[in-house]
Symmetry: C2
Subunit: 311 residues, 2 copies
Amino acid sequence: MDLATRIAAGQGGFVLFALTPPRQSTPAERLPEIARATVERLDHLDLDGLILYDIDDESSRNPAERPFPFSPTVDPSTYRAEHFGSWRTPVIVYRAVGKYQPEGLRTWIAEQDPRSTLTVMVGAASSGATPPLSLADAQALRAEANPDLLLGGVAIPERHRRRENEHLRLIAKQEAGCRFFVTQVVYDVNAAKNLVSDYRYACEERGTAPVPIVFTFSVCGSMKTLEFLRWLGVDVPRWIENDLRHATNPLRASLEQSAATAAELVEFCRRLDVPFGLNVESVSIRREEIEASVELAARLGAQLRVSPDAR
Amino acid sequence: MDLATRIAAGQGGFVLFALTPPRQSTPAERLPEIARATVERLDHLDLDGLILYDIDDESSRNPAERPFPFSPTVDPSTYRAEHFGSWRTPVIVYRAVGKYQPEGLRTWIAEQDPRSTLTVMVGAASSGATPPLSLADAQALRAEANPDLLLGGVAIPERHRRRENEHLRLIAKQEAGCRFFVTQVVYDVNAAKNLVSDYRYACEERGTAPVPIVFTFSVCGSMKTLEFLRWLGVDVPRWIENDLRHATNPLRASLEQSAATAAELVEFCRRLDVPFGLNVESVSIRREEIEASVELAARLGAQLRVSPDAR
């Protein structure tokens, strides 16, 4: 069953891989080869779909200096249309809604084929900014302009640990049309289990079926990657930082930890009967980190297929 | 190699089981049968040793109402001497040092056979109280009165998450004579890994060899047990609370989670070359929780023996 059909049916059991498109400053003639290298790396993985992120300058969210300077990236929908023609499974295209004018976003939504495209809408980074389009407006546009286009939302276990209401935010997003959720990178297995558990029982209370939660994992093999993940709001544990300073193979350790966390979440979601997907985010441009991401995705895929009773 | 020899050599790879002696209010004639039932339950586990806790009224530490009323328990050393004659491996007897007069504690220390007894000294619960004997005084007594008696200290990963200096406290305790550490119950695998990692690299910096860290696990199968663990300072995750309210077999889920956490810590310690032991604490008087504790200890023991390259 393909990704869109599964999600439309409220079912999980899929594996995704998430990429950020190249920077806009990349010479145009290099884009085809970058995309081709990506497709070659991912082709044998039998992925159920890709995620393409839409990067906004989030400096308004975080007063700390950005570890990598912000550099606008190629629009994910354009990148996909121009360079991923050979890709065979659906693509989840992110939309940082604060970047768009209502008419432009409406046109984009209306043009998408819901069998091959899904979208995740992300609100503006800071509540201080007043973007032309709020997340609620954008969600309403989707319902109006292309109701079959499957909509997802973001889920942040760390926020649940601090505020304990992320499960209610998920339910509100579900009422606004979300049919799946994608987490930010998970390192804290208990924070993720707490969110899943609270969400599941809140759904039960309301007589609502839980929708698939896609857990995102990443490897972290360099201090730059660690700093970037932390800047994004991920609680990367201190032992990983120590590993990076001292251990002979921190990348391998991070890969093993992500696989162990995923295994625990898979077992937990199955027990609680919450549909789920697994996603590997490639956050680095270093070759060895990219290759470790691909290996992680292969392992997660093998794990799901060994016991394919996932909802 | 027996427990005392291993610890004296700075080696881990052992499995323990921890008990709190019965309440003093227990009719004296029932103590032999309680102890016999315990020995029968544990005998087949091939444990490397037992831990017997010394309970102090910790109400001074925590202003919240105690979920179980405090009730003094039988002295662990007396309980062991009178009822564990048939037990064949060493016993780690806790000493809540705030309860004792210097002379009484010195006598007890001097009388112990270091081949069959080890001790963990615990400081007074609240810094507000002024006990007759401080932890430092008690540690000095041990060094003086029976320097071969192996001394351990407590390690609290949750405290490390809040204050980030628990590894330095361990090193200070080590300088005061501690040859091993026992954690409180671990649910947060990242907090435990952070502590191990910080401790290991701080040892390296000082040219000190790390001593065995004994990780404690428990099952939690009832709201009473959950409340008690939280009162003791353990961060029991919210998903376990939800399980207890809703799931058909929360005790089983808690057992699986403890086993998964242990497996991850075993792998981590081996990679970092930090010696470790595993301990299962039975915190409940409910039969099914006790039996699940025994099962957990059996599984942890089997796991260590399958790959006995543990230091």
